[in-house]
Symmetry: C2
Subunit: 467 residues, 2 copies
């Protein structure tokens, strides 16, 4: 594991806060080692930094009470959803109290006529979509993991559908949040648009629990499309695949997803998911619309793919075939692990202007090969966003160091291409050094906002901003 | 005119700043009465509060210099685009220096492959679209006026196309801005999405020049659709028209615009634009897509309209006919003025969840009629957003008072329906009292952000936040 920075602990404050919380919550204040460690657990290679106690909050008033008690004692408070973030977002480098929000999992209202719903933060995206299905509605953002929507809002998640439906920033209408002093605010009303003052909704989306704890979310919904069609197409090179993506986007085909798997991923998918795809770069595409619309989109995409040397173009509109393709895509992480049994998959993510995508992906492949790293690449390429999953033997320090070198190199490359060091994984602890490289003086104003809204730095300290 | 709050003037600071700026900018520091009044001019009924001097800045470095000089003296700085905002946004209630950005009007780069461009803030939306046309691209946001894109970003503008393409918040990728201490920051790179820290882009969009002065904008662009079709349809009642809109949106027809004109507006349009429309509520719709796509959309809309008692449905794909319809829509303000020659048109704007739209519009009509006000209504109804333009004789104090009453009543009604007191006109001076009614404690955190980023309150003071 890679060491994470530790911050000074306020021992007296933590002890006092735990005493008061014990009185208020009794047995529900949990200090067992196993539960604490699980709540500091991260799915990445950063070491676990466990909180001192965990409380499963049941409503906004409880969250507010906990924050007030911690604020009085200047004790850290870390909001926790499903723990699927990748950059150490839920670690507790100064200890403190973890508020687990998974029991706040009610869908409070679905307004079908307005295409929105109001939910508690612990609702997961899959649970929400099950709830909505009968009404012909769905929530499109899909980061892969069955994450909680509170966590997805807090980390500005996106994923495969973002090319068509945007990221969490585009799909949150309003938030209720508990601020650092325990005050409960609403950032906006339920109107679809507003120009009423500073956009606190968008400020909290992506703030990773450092400015406020999200306790209720109003989300935009979509009608389930009349027709869905998926297609796949193989390409001779990553460059050819990326050019086909650019042409598709420029042509205005409203693809719902357009995903790149590099040759190593295709090989892994064949082995893991029992597919027989040609082991060259592959695009997986999905079209949403009317029957006539998806047929037209699919046909146009087919002819664009053709122009760029695509082969084996196959479109399908049966749910089974489509699910099989997307299941293979969703299982990529597990499939890639099989390329090197026993290794850990270390994911990193960058996003560049789409015109630089082919160059960036090709350079990333070449660099990995030069360093002798196995680093298969999958990408939400319609947005210029891709992930490398390095397969690392964590017991070999040289490999770990090499992975660190590679991540640093890749982030700097993306930044040099006018891209970002984090397209959708957030900053957490892992990407903090790169944020300043990317945005320079802007980070000072981020720090000023943090200082203004959380003067004692109790909300998820040690994340996003440089020390 | 309605009185605007005056703020204390820092006479010594203003005098000193003007002296220093005179040395730096010579004749370019303009203190003529006419120019100053023009720069305090607002298109609404709020009295003009002129700045003490106006400088037409030529580049970011000049903006930074002016802000630094003013910051040293604690003197207000007001950014100015085309002055088409409606709520007193550019007034100078404490005097100070107006920076006119209209000479910073270069398109710095068009990245056709990335569907984005980088522009200076003084570029107007029409100028940008003329610049882009040859490349088959366009920028969709259209607030009516030929506003500067800096102003549109600063006020989170939207308009007729927002139902399909979103508002300025959805179409700004990154900003360069001069902060209150004169520091120049970039809020993001050019990647299409990012989860790199706090969303300063969205915080500045809609901040009305109170947190920073926008000096460069990276905008998302769209390909000009292969086909555009417009349609109109008359309805027996506002309620029927609104229900047709709801059904259209729920059905997932990706309308590019869907506009309501109430019966009074249709009457005005007939008279002003030489049309012969039935004088009942009217929907104007536009579809963007492929030839087959727009035909399908238009047909589906036609049958939905039918279900809700629509009549006289007429679709057109010739540019002339389409332009004639939209010109009538764009000329609504002038057409309405002809309903009562000599009157001033006082525009106010609210936005509610679309399920409450029919009720809200009908109540607004009934209340106007009860008060004896002529208040025709046009609406970007796909978003639940509509405008009342009261026709007021400004020489009759009772009428002015009645209009104030009406605006207060309408804003409160929208808020009570989970809507907003300002869908797209911003807050400026005019909507300040309603912001607190709408968002309560959230406004305290807006104030904390303002205090953190502009501790001396020099950037466009007296706007958005309550005193």
């Amino acid at each position: 594991m890679v060491k994470a920075t530790r911050l000074p602990r306020n021992e007296t404050g933590i002890e006092t806060a735990i005493g008061i919380l014990k009185q208020r919550f009794g047995e529900r204040l949990n200090t067992s080692q196993a539960l604490r460690e699980q709540h500091g657990h991260t799915t990445t290679w950063i070491e676990t930094q466990a909180p001192d106690a965990v409380i499963f909050a049941r409503d906004t008033a409880e969250v507010s009470d906990i924050v007030k008690i911690c604020a009085d004692q200047k004790v850290p408070v870390i909001a926790y959803g499903t723990g699927t973030s990748l950059e150490g977002h839920v670690n507790a480098p100064a200890g403190g109290i973890c508020i687990d929000l998974t029991e706040m999992n009610k869908v409070l209202a679905v307004h079908a006529s307005d295409l929105d719903c109001v939910i508690q933060p612990g609702v997961t995206r899959e649970a929400l979509n099950v709830h909505l299905r009968d009404q012909g509605l769905f929530f499109p953002i899909d980061p892969g993991a069955n994450a909680s929507l509170g966590g997805m809002a807090a980390t500005r998640a996106s994923g495969t559908n973002a090319v068509r439906y945007g990221t969490m920033k585009d799909n949150v209408i309003a938030l209720e949040a508990v601020m650092a002093d325990g005050t409960v605010i609403r950032t906006a009303q339920r109107a679809k648009k507003s120009s009423a003052g500073y956009d606190l909704t968008r400020l909290l989306v992506g703030s990773e629990g450092t400015l406020g704890i999200i306790t209720e979310i109003t989300l935009r919904l979509q009608g389930i499309p009349e027709a869905i069609r998926a297609a796949r197409c193989s390409f001779p090179t990553v460059d050819a695949a990326c050019r086909a993506v650019m042409a598709t986007i420029q042509y205005g085909i409203p693809v719902a997803r357009i995903e790149l798997l590099d040759e190593m991923c295709v090989k892994a998918a064949n082995a893991y998911s029992g597919l027989t795809l040609p082991e060259t770069p592959l695009l997986l595409v999905e079209f949403h619309g009317s029957e006539a619309g998806v047929a037209e989109q699919s046909e146009t995409f087919g002819s664009i793919a053709d122009d760029f040397g695509g082969s084996g173009f196959a479109a399908t509109s049966t749910t089974e075939e489509r699910n099989k393709l997307w299941k293979a895509r969703h299982d990529m992480y597990w499939a890639c692990l099989q390329l090197r049994p026993g290794a850990k998959g270390i994911a990193t993510d960058v996003c560049v202007p789409i015109s630089r995508l082919a160059e960036c992906v090709s350079a990333a492949q070449a660099k990995a090969s030069e360093l002798g790293l196995l680093a298969p690449i999958v990408g939400h390429v319609g947005d210029g966003n891709f992930h490398c999953s390095m397969l690392i033997d964590m017991d070999i320090p040289e490999e770990v160091a090499m992975a660190e070198t590679y991540i640093g190199w890749l982030n700097d490359l993306a930044i040099s291409m006018d891209g970002t060091c984090t397209g959708e994984h957030g900053v957490g602890q892992g990407k903090r050094p790169y944020l300043t490289r990317e945005l320079g003086p802007a980070t000072r104003y981020m720090a000023a906002i943090k200082q203004a809204l959380d003067p004692d730095n109790i909300l998820n300290p040690g994340k996003i901003l440089p020390d």
